[in-house]
Amino acid sequence: MSEAATAAKIEDPGLDQGVEKLTRDQIQSTILKVVNQENSARLRAMVGTCVSCGLCSEACHYFMSYDRNPYYAPVGKVKETLWEMMSRNGMVSKEFIRRAATTAYTECNLCKRCVHFCPFGIDTAYLMTVVRRICHLLGVTPQYLQDTCHSHSATFNQMWVKDDEWIDSLQWQEEEARDEFPGLRIPLDKEGSDIMYSVIAPEPKFRAQLIYQAAAIFQVAGSDWTMPATPGWDNSDMAMFSGDAEMMGRLKKKHYEAARRLRVKKIVMGECGHAYRSVYDMGNRWLGFKDMPIPIIHAIQFYCELLRAGKIKVASRITELCTFHDPCNTVRGMGLHEMGREVARAFCPNMVEMHPNREHNYCCCAGGGVINCGPPHKMTRVLGNRIKAEQLKATGAKIIVAPCHNCHGGLEDIVHHYKLNMKIKFLGDIIYEHMQKPGAVE
């Protein structure tokens, strides 16, 4: 038996104390409201059509990593949550809700890999978001995840970054970057720019060098860009994952409005997967926009455009063996796998594919808000992604290119735990390091 099979019950005050307050009536009325009123034909068709064949099982990295325990198969997770809730007409116990919350929040990354496995295209990720919605309305959410949602509600960013701290961080990075590029600016609130650059709150909080690197790339490419000085600058969206759809809508509105106020032509987003899902898929629909109300492109697309237009040029190349990790939200979400490879290959000619890859790639096991459920649940996801470690190890690569923050967090833990001795890089890291830098001080 592997170490994964021996995991014990995890204490989480958000879940444990959350269920304490629940009554049977409250549980039932909430489940019925979500199942019968908020959701519709899609839910019924998906739950009613499932023939429980189990063909989705091998799609899930948890299932593969936890010794093929059927409990972790996508259909297994639906059985433990929605099937019971719906067949018992919402009459389930507190303990059931506690277990369902653990399943939906910490044992599913909403990566949608199983959609590719199901002959009917049943979207277990969607079904798990329905469960999360129920848990959110019942006030049973993992404490760390809920903290980020509280931050979203109070500050419109995920990390409790205060308005002045945000500006301060940008100016600090501008100052740092001016040592290298004397004329560089991080233009704040510059109305009428071509591009508004938006990031996730962890960037100013503890990955500020990413802002520096982005500024350097904008500088070299000669882009007309700006960053908003007011809330709306953070494109991240943990509310989408906690089940707080109302807050998700407010966040996206703020984000789009910041761009409108600055009268930019488009938004370029940093290398984040879930924020992208939030703007092109979930948030826009909640607000009633069919598409994104203002053109928004992911950093992968932006970098690819810059390379194709010759606005950034390759100065040096990485000689070590590299592999490319496809983040679920940019690949199963927007089909950016070839663009990502095009950018990576320009700088890393020595590339090897991991298998499976592209739209069939295994998830990093951090996305879907799982890493944001914090330290209590860390080992669930690290042990739950042994399959990824094996997949990475088989490539023999020294560097993993992963254009997504969550993937970085998840892969770092996996690389560390399984002693893979691999470095993980953003496309931005590679471009910054290896592009030609006219105007830079040596």
């Binding site: 009123q37 908020e38 959701n39 519709s40 034909a41 899609r42 019924r44 068709a45 998906m46 009613g48 059509t49 499932c50 023939v51 429980s52 064949c53 189990g54 063909l55 099982s57 091998e58 799609a59 299932f63 093929r68 059927p70 409990y71 198969a73 259909v75 297994g76 059985k79 959609v115 590719h116 496995f117 002959p119 009917f120 295209g121 049943i122 979207d123 092109y280 898929d281 629909r285 069919k290 690949v331 199963r332 979400g333 927007m334 089909g335 950016l336 796998h337 499976p356 739209e359 069939h360």
Partner: protein, 219 residues
């Protein structure tokens, strides 16, 4: 016994077919109108070409990644479904009954082929039952009704073969065969056998969503 036979092959055919057709039509109307009311965006994103593409690809053996990963299951599933649909429509005895009733007739399967295909259907069901019992991930999620539905599908073919070989009482077997056929037709709209309708509906939705919005294939 004769009156039962007359009833089952006469008025009851109307009842079963009407329940089947209107059950499926009703299900279609119920689901689409509910979606229109609560998830209207499904129709905004729906694109016919992607829906058709998704349906067709999932109807071609080994066209999708997961079919290639499970070759035995793929072969059994396709053979099972093809036989399940072809035999009732083109079995000689069935066509004769259509001809006697309405004077319409069409091509029929040679007897040995029809018999072989019926055995293949039963073999497929046996495979599904054993798979559900032996494969942990299938066993874990299998409910009593799943076996029950497999039984409902198996019975018309089992009784049909018993009647063909005149094992047990032929007349009783024929009545059981017709009755089992009715039960299966009626069960379609009310069980997961309705994937007859929901397969194209869901694939149409997922195909439009993936190929149209997400810019990525869904197979």
């Amino acid at each position: 016994m004769h009156t039962v036979y007359i009833f089952l092959t006469g008025p009851m055919v109307w009842v079963s077919l009407l329940i089947l057709v209107f059950g499926l039509i009703g299900k279609f109307i119920y689901l689409t109108s509910m979606a229109k009311k609560r998830d209207p965006w499904i129709f905004n994103y729906f694109q016919f070409k992607y829906a058709i593409k998704s349906i067709l690809i999932w109807l071609v053996p080994f066209a999708t990644m997961n079919m290639r990963r499970n070759p035995v299951m793929t072969v059994v599933t396709f053979v099972f479904h093809i036989c399940l649909i072809i035999v009732p429509i083109f079995a000689l005895a069935h066509v004769i009954m259509w001809e006697e009733a309405w004077g319409i007739s069409w091509w029929t399967l040679p007897e040995t082929v029809a018999v072989t295909m019926s055995f293949l259907v039963l073999g497929g069901i046996l495979f599904f039952i054993i798979r559900r019992m032996k494969l942990p991930e299938a066993r874990y999620v299998t409910r009593v009704q799943d076996y029950f539905i497999l039984l409902i599908v198996a019975l018309p073919f089992l009784t049909g073969l018993l009647a063909y070989y005149q094992i047990f009482n032929y007349q009783l077997m024929i009545i059981l065969h017709v009755a089992a056929g009715h039960i299966m037709l009626i069960a379609i709209p009310f069980t997961w056998l309705s994937h007859l309708l929901l397969f194209p509906m869901l694939r149409g939705y997922v195909g439009s969503e993936f190929q149209g919005v997400r810019n990525v294939k869904d197979w």
